[in-house]
Symmetry: C2
Subunit: 240 residues, 2 copies
DNA sequence: AAGTGGTCTAGACCACGGC
DNA sequence: CCGTGGTCTAGACCACTTC
């Protein structure tokens, strides 16, 4: 019997997408039992090992949970901790409207630290984009993004302020954002930031320095953010 | 032929630990090629599928990298982002000596918030353990741990102060720590904390509230920590 | 006892990359 | 061409859980 099948997809992937479809369509709910290896093998006309592969791989993805002697079950929808999200995405995932105001947007060539974080030569031209974020009518964060001007100066003509920067990068520049390394510490509001955020001077702020990389490992954007600690708090999950 | 083998371990795990050993011993370095599936199968007298399983599983762990048509190679040592580590482990991973002083250790029954974080009834007895952390002779963090007194009051007789709390929990109580959810924000040092940490009052501090869970999902410990922002900064990685 | 997942065999062909 | 990893078969026995 030939290994190749009608649509060119490996058999174990066909089985996976069949199961995924039933979950997405609502026919299978978290906790429901999935057909056993042996049943899947019969249904899809494959060997046990192939059906196993399909289920084992779905388990790695966290879609199902397998219990020896019991069966395979649809896993509870996973909470996305530590997920890289844009401000817009974070807000909408909490059903809040995202407000944003561009305070500054220009190409500069003396932003040495930002250039270094982007792995560019110290005097490279970088696009600096400063935005005030607010929610519920209150300002709560000041975020400054830096991007390589050589690659992204066109952003100055893009509808920043209305559209998500992540979205523009992914759609217009075909960049797949992959991961971000963040450094977090606490600092006191200096006079300028205090005024912009409408808080007293020397108020404690969360400072987050973030380098965002593409899936290929290229540094795309450096973001320096100051967050009002009374309105923002970071949640992460660590694993042992 | 019987499936069972001399030491009771599955064959694919024996193959894995053989490879791991060669890496740990320095016989195999990042980038070096690992024996191919077929070679491993011959060497360990197993079928191809079993050798495959061993390598595929090592790849999931990030120990090796597999490239079709090329071979299997030792992966670059992974940086452990977002890893749950004890203070002692963190310090030793940076080759610093961990210093720690117990300021308070008692069972209390009016720590409502801590009890709630541990999913215990509000008035449960909890063990409160307050420790001053220092490094390089300087105090840099105040950490307060809360544990269920019903289960862990014996800790009062354990050599806290000398030994890692994580270690005691894992060895003496047979608890497998699994993950932790952390809430991070910034706050200003109150008079007591300022004095303990030898910093001016109202200095910005990083505040981390951490609930540590066992691998089974049971809340084991609630830790409230205040970190001198000039000495400590949190690094995490987020994924999209 | 019956059913489940976990491990394993001894082969096979395919797709890819380097020579 | 040859060696690599990727997919697959048609069985087998083991360990575990429920009945």
């Amino acid at each position: 019997m030939p290994v190749k099948n009608r649509n060119g997809l490996p058999a174990y992937q066909r089985i996976q997408s069949a199961i995924r479809k039933r979950i997405d369509a609502g026919h299978l709910h978290p906790g429901d039992s999935v057909a056993s290896e042996r049943d899947l093998a019969k249904i899809h006309q494959v060997s046990l090992m192939t059906a196993r592969h399909a289920l084992a791989s779905l388990e790695r993805e966290g879609i199902v949970e397998r219990r020896r002697g019991i069966g395979t079950f649809v896993a509870a929808p996973k909470i996305h901790f530590n997920e890289l999200m844009s401000y817009t995405e974070q807000m909408s995932s909490r059903s809040l409207t995202a407000g944003s105001k561009v305070l500054f947007a220009k190409v500069l060539d003396n932003e040495n630290e930002a250039a270094a974080r982007l792995s560019l030569p110290p005097t490279s031209s970088v696009l600096k984009l400063e935005r005030l974020r607010h929610a519920a009518g209150e300002p709560f964060a000041l975020e400054t993004c830096y991007l390589s001007a050589a690659e992204f100066s066109g952003l100055l003509d893009a509808p920043i302020g209305r559209e998500s920067l992540f979205g523009i990068l992914e759609r217009n520049y075909k960049i797949e954002l992959g991961y971000a390394d963040e450094e977090i510490d606490a600092t006191a509001a200096d006079p300028r930031i205090a005024e912009i955020l409408s808080i007293p001077r020397r108020e404690p702020l969360l400072r987050i320095r973030q380098v965002i990389y593409s899936t290929k490992g290229l540094a795309i954007m450096y973001v320096l953010g100051f967050y009002r600690s009374d309105r923002h708090n970071l949640v992460i999950r660590r694993f042992r």
